[in-house]
């Protein structure tokens, strides 16, 4: 039985904000199915009493002093922006 359907792949692509073609959807369904099937070998292990590791070091809630600093100059911020106008980053329409 396949682990992931083509419809699911299309839904995940939407969540990931990736436009995919029909061919890509088919290919990805195939490839992801293989990778997920491979990953399911982890189910051989009983992990009921195992704590998850998000991070290997014992570092938690790192805070630094809250001090006011000069922000980046506007021209630096805009230097790499694909489109800008009047000192603002410009994007295509958000609403109809």
């Amino acid at each position: 039985m396949s682990r992931i359907s083509e419809d699911q792949v299309k839904h995940v692509a939407h969540l990931a904000r990736l436009a995919i073609t029909e061919e890509e959807a088919e290919m990805l369904t195939n490839q992801l199915d293989k990778i997920i099937t491979f990953a399911e070998q982890l189910n051989e292990l009983d992990t009921d009493n195992v704590e998850p590791t998000a991070h290997v070091l014992e570092i938690k809630n790192v805070m630094r002093e809250d001090r006011a600093q000069q922000g980046l100059p506007r021209e630096e911020v805009l230097k790499n922006a694909p489109e800008h106008q009047d000192g603002q980053i410009k994007v295509p329409g958000i609403m109809e």
Binding site: A19, L42, N43, E51
Partner: protein, 485 residues
């Protein structure tokens, strides 16, 4: 003889006595690049004008006072996922093709402090996702030992440029083996430090809980010098560790008498070629002769590392790469009517195939209804893998095995099936999951292709790792061989 066949300590001595200038070294770099870069294709961006100007400024300064920094004036190459102010940084992705960083990564600031000279930015697999450099959005770097072979990856340009003598040394990054595996394939020395030892500030993130920057050099002593220059706490990286940085070079005593070595049976088993296995067994004999002892151990969860790694690293990548949306920097599609369409087309056009595949896998593993079954499960197995290492390190000082199961493979050999490509990292991935340090040093050849010995240490015990690597190197001649280009 190339100037880069000298060790850092020798070059420093020559510079100090003014028998050599920084300009001579930078000339050597660009001369060699002129000769071999057409074949090797290690660089994405060269910074010749600034490098020559920096060399001249350093030479002028040296007239006033003799240089003190050990790395003063030495030509370095930087993996292209480390941001360099004013020097194009792409992570080998079309989505960042024209990205001009407005700040320096912490490691770059540190290199500026010790006065190295940056020659250029090195090719890699796109966003460090790959083991061959075939996933670069721009070009394929080739292995200097055999131009039909891959240099390894993802830091393929970093390893190939050092092996080819284009730079004295380089920086790479290692998420699942991306420093050690190309170092092994290219016959150079590559160190992945303990997670948290080197600041990740300014490293374009792939998998934040696994990524580490580290040095690639021609010998162990040079590697220790470079790590000393870049290691240390950084308040700009919240996962940076507050630990004292020892003198790694001072620890290279050559004395490994009484050292206890563990050799995991899983690292010499199925999938590891006979030549690789024999080179490791020979290496163990060398280490025994130097006074160490070794025993076989088990890291029983090793076979689960690959699946664990792909779930965790892809999940983290899917979150990290969400920032490439065509708004603040990078490529933006010219063909979009509204914002959502702009995001989707920008990312579809900007990212390569492997990057998209991993974003998809990660998004799936983190999505509602699957999170516990895949992502959380993998985090739990990560704990078991980490505990495997902790148990072994209760009784042994280092773990030794091969870096990669085979020498460098042919270009195109593994591109069809993602899972075969992923299997190249099977011996390096557990180290990143456990967060421990590991080095790859040259330990033999198979049909003219270099092999690497992997030495793994306890958290923050780079000193012992270096000591063992150095003792091995001093007792062997492998590192003295040069590729014929």
């Amino acid at each position: 003889m190339s100037l880069f066949e000298h060790k850092i300590s020798e070059l420093h001595e020559l510079l100090h006595k003014r028998d050599l200038s920084v300009s001579d070294l930078v000339d050597e770099s660009f001369k060699r690049i002129g000769e071999v870069e057409g074949k090797v294709q290690a660089f994405l961006t060269l910074d010749e004008e600034n490098a020559r100007a920096a060399a001249k400024a350093l030479d002028d300064k040296a007239i006033q006072s003799a240089p003190v920094n050990k790395l003063y004036g030495l030509p370095i190459g930087i993996k292209d996922n480390i941001v360099t102010k004013g020097l194009r940084t792409t992570a080998a992705s079309k989505i960042l093709e024209k990205f001009d960083p407005i700040y320096d990564a912490t490691v770059i600031q540190k290199l500026k402090h010790v006065e190295t000279v940056t020659i250029g930015k090195l090719n890699m697999d796109e966003f460090a996702m790959g083991s061959s450099n075939e996933n670069s959005g721009f070009q394929k770097t080739l292995n200097p030992w055999n131009l039909d072979r891959v240099p390894g990856g993802s830091s393929g340009g970093s390893a190939a440029s050092v092996a080819a003598g284009e730079v004295l040394f380089s920086l790479g990054s290692d998420t699942g083996g991306s420093i050690r595996q190309p170092a092994s394939y290219c016959g150079v020395v590559g160190m992945k430090p303990t997670y948290g030892l080197v600041s990740r500030f300014g490293l374009i993130a792939f998998a934040s809980s696994l990524d580490q920057i580290g040095p690639i050099t021609r010998n162990v002593e040079d590697n220790a010098f470079l790590l000393n220059a870049i290691a240390g706490y950084d308040e700009m990286d919240s996962t940076s560790a507050k630990v004292d940085i020892p003198d790694y070079v001072g620890g290279l005593t050559g004395d490994i008498k009484g050292l206890r070595i563990a050799v995991p049976k899983e690292y010499l088993g199925e999938g590891v070629s006979e030549e690789v296995r024999n080179s490791v067994l020979d290496a163990l004999k060398v280490l025994e002769k130097e006074g160490a002892t070794w025993e076989e151990v088990s890291l029983p969860h090793s076979k689960y590392a690959l699946a664990t790694y792909y779930l965790l690293s892809s999940s983290e990548a899917s979150a990290n790469l969400a920032r490439f949306d065509g708004v603040r920097y990078g490529y933006r599609t010219p063909n979009a009517e509204n914002l959502i369409e702009m995001y989707k087309k920008t990312r579809a056009e900007g990212f390569g195939e492997e990057v998209k595949r991993r974003i998809m896998l990660g998004t799936f593993a983190l999505s509602s209804g699957y999170y516990d079954a895949y992502y959380k499960k993998a985090q739990k197995v990560r704990t078991l893998i980490k505990q495997d290492f902790e148990k072994v390190f209760e009784q042994y000082d280092v773990i030794v095995g091969p870096t990669a199961p085979t020498p460098a493979f042919k270009i195109g050999e593994n591109t069809r099936d993602p899972l075969t490509m992923y299997a190249n990292d099977i011996l390096t991935i557990p180290v990143n999951l456990a967060g421990v340090p590991a080095i790859s040093v040259p330990c033999g050849f198979d049909k003219g292709l270099p092999l690497g010995l992997q030495i793994i240490g306890r958290h923050f015990d780079e000193r012992t790792v270096y000591k063992v690597a150095h003792a091995f190197e001093q007792a062997t001649e492998f590192h003295k061989q040069q590729p014929q280009l």
